[in-house]
Symmetry: C2
Subunit: 346 residues, 2 copies
């Protein structure tokens, strides 16, 4: 039986182009011969916006739907007003394709630099809600630009939206050796949304008696990220808290150059999208300094999502081995990609 993957590719801005090229190189090297890989590249991001004023036209959105998955590099450029590409392209994709599970694993690999003394044993996964909370774009401003301006941001949360992501997180926790799930919110201040999250978290927990649970306020969680990160196994949290915590998690596990993510629609109704957590880093774009490892690890998440578990594990093993074996001399984006591609081809 011949298998195929229809992959949409959005390299995006800055280093996005460079890291995606390496991700595709490793993907090509790891896939079994009988899997037919069809890729289609989309010109979306700052260049397109400057040329046409478009961020994500309907035609592109429709065409993206005809794929099994999306690989995205990075979105954002200083030449574009803050928010235009983030809201008009990246978040539009996450919302249009109902990516309610924003999956962000954090692992301290051997031979990587962590800013933490004592190198704690870090291996956890953040399940960040991806379609609600303060990210809906709800809100506005009145008397804009005057001394009487009032600006609001509305965090929208539904039982439907919270329950599905919480259940997904429990299932992931149940499948891991430690079987521990921590809810992070701020329910002593954001009482409306926070209490709803907590109630649903407790209720869904009844379906998973084997999972140990815990609750932390987001401020306290940041403390444990630096003093006791080994206490975490799976974390479930809202869209904004998840954004903040996963950058911090990336920092303590050796940097944003290694942090992968998946924007997942577990129902399969729409293609899921995989991207490094890092941004477009315009300051180092074109210099060959970008580390493609986060993108390569995102490709592993993509393969696992499509059912290629063995290939996903092979990539993750290759990354661990590559980090372990590397010397102290800096390598270019392409050199790291080559090293990983040859390891997975093995």
């Amino acid at each position: 039986m011949s298998r195929s993957i229809r992959l949409a590719v959005i390299p995006g801005d800055g280093i996005g182009q460079e890291v995606v090229a390496q991700g595709l190189k490793v993907l090509g090297a790891v896939l079994p011969q009988d899997v037919k890989l069809e890729t289609k590249e989309y010109d979306l991001g700052a260049r397109r916006w400057h040329a046409t004023g478009e961020t994500l036209p309907d035609a592109d959105l429709e065409s993206l739907k005809e794929h099994d998955a999306i690989l995205l590099g990075a979105i954002g450029d200083p030449s574009v007003p803050s928010g235009v590409l983030e809201r008009g392209l990246l978040l539009k994709l996450r919302f249009a394709f109902d990516h309610y599970v924003n999956l962000r694993p954090s692992k301290l690999f051997p031979n990587t630099a962590t800013p933490l003394a004592g190198r704690p044993d870090i291996d956890f996964v953040v399940v960040r809600e991806g379609t609600e909370g303060p990210y809906t774009g709800n809100g506005g401003s009145l008397r804009t630009g005057t001394p009487h301006e009032v600006a609001t941001e509305v965090s929208l949360n539904t039982a439907y939206g919270v329950e599905r992501v919480v259940r997904d997180a429990y299932a992931r926790a149940a499948a891991r050796p430690r079987k521990k799930l921590t809810l992070v919110h701020k329910n002593n201040v954001l009482v409306h949304a926070g209490h709803m999250w907590k109630k649903i978290f407790d209720k869904v927990g009844e379906e998973f008696p084997e999972v140990t649970t815990d609750y932390l306020h987001v401020d306290a969680a940041t403390i444990f990220f630096v003093t006791q990160p080994e206490r975490f196994d799976v974390i479930v949290t809202d869209n904004l808290f998840g954004d903040i915590l996963t950058d911090l998690a990336a920092a303590v596990t050796g940097g944003i150059g290694l942090a992968a993510s998946g924007n997942i629609n577990p129902t399969g109704a729409f293609p899921s999208m995989f991207e490094p957590v890092h941004g477009s880093a315009p300051d180092i774009a074109g210099t060959g300094k970008a580390d493609p490892t986060a993108t390569v690890l995102s490709v592993a998440l993509l393969l696992r999502h499509l059912g290629y578990e063995a290939e996903a594990a092979r990539i993750e093993g290759a990354v661990a081995a590559d980090l372990e074996a590397r010397g102290t001399a800096p390598r270019t984006t392409g050199e790291i990609g080559d090293a990983l591609a040859s390891r997975v081809a093995g």
Copy 2:
């Protein structure tokens, strides 16, 4: 001329009682003979709520107004539903007394344990907005407890509120040797509030040409807190981001046992309130394990606010000397308080 301080004291819950006792001990020891200190203690917190159902009755609020400042220990207890005391007492005080500058200095003292390798040189101040943002309590829930529940949290931001705290932060930055101010927000996603903050930040900056400015998204800021905390001098940010960042700041500078804060109303219209950043820590209440240093440093902020600069500096010097001189044997709450009191009395 005889001087006097009318101090309202709210020990609150858990270790609040114990650390406030030491704060008062040090305050008594540092004050010049001619300063008359009148204290009035308020029974507010979990005990009062259980006894009477009250969190902060109007009579107490009125009576608190008749003071020059408030010293608060900690609020919160697991026996009270999450949010009741936080919203009904602590935040009610911050809002009623218009504490728009929530001042939180972070300094890595000698001979203290930081989780960061390499002990970076950390000495910054977070100016957290204290009366707006996601903390207003605005929002609600519909079809509560049903599968159709919708819960909202509304972040309210006004040009008036943002401008006054931003100007205060510039003035603080201008008075420090490095003269650097960083705005932290998330204006690529929370575009309504975020753009207003950024516009006002840039505008007010014209009045302070000597101050170098910088902008960071909150997620990126957490990365720098652990990889390059020495880059920060003064940070200004919204209520929720400030809450999160200052716990992280406390963690990287040796823990929440050393983090002081002031809820300041710079106009003097209402008494300002000083409190350690830590909570009531019910797990160690009554064991003598609580470190009163954060409260003692909050007393220094209180004295500085009331114009007792020499006494404030004496307390800060005593804390630095005490940390430097201490051995490895654990000390009780009272022993630390005694050591600090005898140093400032000097």
